[in-house]
Amino acid sequence: MHLTSEDLSAILLTLELAGVTTVLLLLLATPIAWWLAHTRSGWRAPVAAIVALPLVLPPTVLGFYLLIALGPHGSVGQFTQWAGWGSLAFSFSGLVLGSMIYSLPFAVQPLVNAFEAMGSRPMEVAATLRANKLDAFFTVAIPLAKPGFVMAAMLSFAHTVGEFGVVLMIGGNIPDKTRVVSTQIYGHVEAMEYAQAHGLAGAMLLFAFVVLLIISWANRRRTQTAT
């Protein structure tokens, strides 16, 4: 396998992007998932649908509308300019934002499942022991939902690594800033550098296989310990 220094920098950037995205996404997804798992509000269905939208939308479509939104006349672009951050298009922060939207359902869904499976009883018991809600959430709910968090983290990370359309649309292919593995492979293929494309794609395939293998092992262990 021949990986050039450009390939390596793309790999590092991809891991960094996936890591940052996963951490921020877990922070964002936890309250959303908690709310979805417990609310009886009429808003539940529409919010759940919005969270699931990135599953259905083609990534290039998502990317195109992000590009418009990030632009100087777009809502996000006007806000970031007003806040003095400049434009997010063609920046690492822009990619993080895009990746968070793109991978949102993969973080929220496992957490909703975990919170729902937990039921309301553990929190009620904690309440009778005079734990306040926040305290109970951190000391009871989160440890109980740990498998859900692990699953959400792995899926978000893996899904962000495999992201292509959004990055292609809003990235601008800047080395060390927005050129990730998937766009690098695309570049190799388009430039007819098939040997290099094969090397990088092979590395990615191996990575994806290992992640899925770990998830499937973790799942089996969980069902085994549960029974």
Binding site: L67, I68, G71, P72, S87, G172, I174, V189, M192
Partner: protein, 259 residues
């Protein structure tokens, strides 16, 4: 009775399908077209269908993608590339018919902004200093590794000595279409695009532009070639000829290409 009727209907359907397919195959040509030539080719295909008995089906894509598809057995009879290297390569690799290559259009490069006062007609904006009120944050080009227009843009930047000043502001689209999109959505203040993307009947449709003099970059020759599949196809041969007709050439010129 019911079964017999069903059988009759089925064979009628199969017969008519084979008949339609058989007919269409005889005078239909599937053409792989480089994405930057989309608009003019749609017009030319219309004219081709009016002027001949044949039908043209168009498939658009980047030259690199179309190359990969052709090499892997895509059912294209003619290839209109965005460069002159890929058709030559296909000819050498025996996938295309030797001796059928010709230049059907020569692309023109333009530096374009949606801001009506940003780009001057000499391209001075490229070398203006940073304190200039006409300075810019991002400039889009097509990826020089992937798109001939990107190579041309880099030649212009190097030739005018603007590259060092401009390099930190460069963003790359994977095609000239995406470079255009970056400027169109104003995520990039300006960018090198194809003249064909921003002009109709020889006029720039909006914003400000510098039509880059052709001596500043290697000519953007776009070559056509007959693919092995089209060798015996009357419609493919007719199309190759039609591309050089008066009517096709005037359409090509109208879209900002030279010949």
């Amino acid at each position: 009775m019911g079964l017999r009727l069903l059988r009759f209907c089925l064979s009628a359907v199969i017969l008519s399908v084979t008949f339609v397919c058989g007919c269409a195959k005889a005078d239909e040509v599937v053409i792989a077209v480089a994405a930057n030539f989309t608009a003019p080719m749609q017009k030319i295909a219309q004219a081709f269908e009016q002027d001949t008995v044949h039908k043209a089906k168009l498939v658009f894509g980047s030259t690199g993608k179309l190359y990969a598809q052709i090499k892997n057995g895509a059912p294209f009879a003619v290839f209109l590339s965005a460069d002159d290297e890929t058709p030559a390569r296909l000819e050498k690799e025996g996938v295309a018919v030797a001796g059928t290559r010709f230049t059907y259009a020569v692309g023109r490069l333009a530096l374009w902004s949606r801001n009506p006062s940003l780009v001057d007609d000499k391209g001075q904006v490229l070398i203006g200093n940073a304190s200039d009120k006409n300075s810019f944050k991002k400039i889009a080009i097509a990826d020089p590794k992937l798109a001939p227009y990107g190579v041309a843009a880099m030649e212009v930047l190097k030739g005018t000595g603007a590259l060092t000043h401009v390099a930190p502001k460069l963003v790359q689209g994977d095609s000239i279409g995406q470079a255009f999109q970056f400027v169109m959505t104003e995520n990039a203040d300006l960018g090198f695009v194809a003249l064909s993307q921003i002009s109709i009947d020889g006029r720039i449709t909006q914003g400000s532009a510098w039509v880059v003099p052709q001596n500043l970059y290697t000519p953007l020759k776009q070559d056509a070639i007959l693919l092995a599949l089209g060798k015996e196809n009357a419609a493919a041969l007719a199309l190759m000829k039609y591309m050089r007709s008066e009517r096709a050439q005037s359409i090509i010129r109208n879209y900002g290409y030279t010949l």
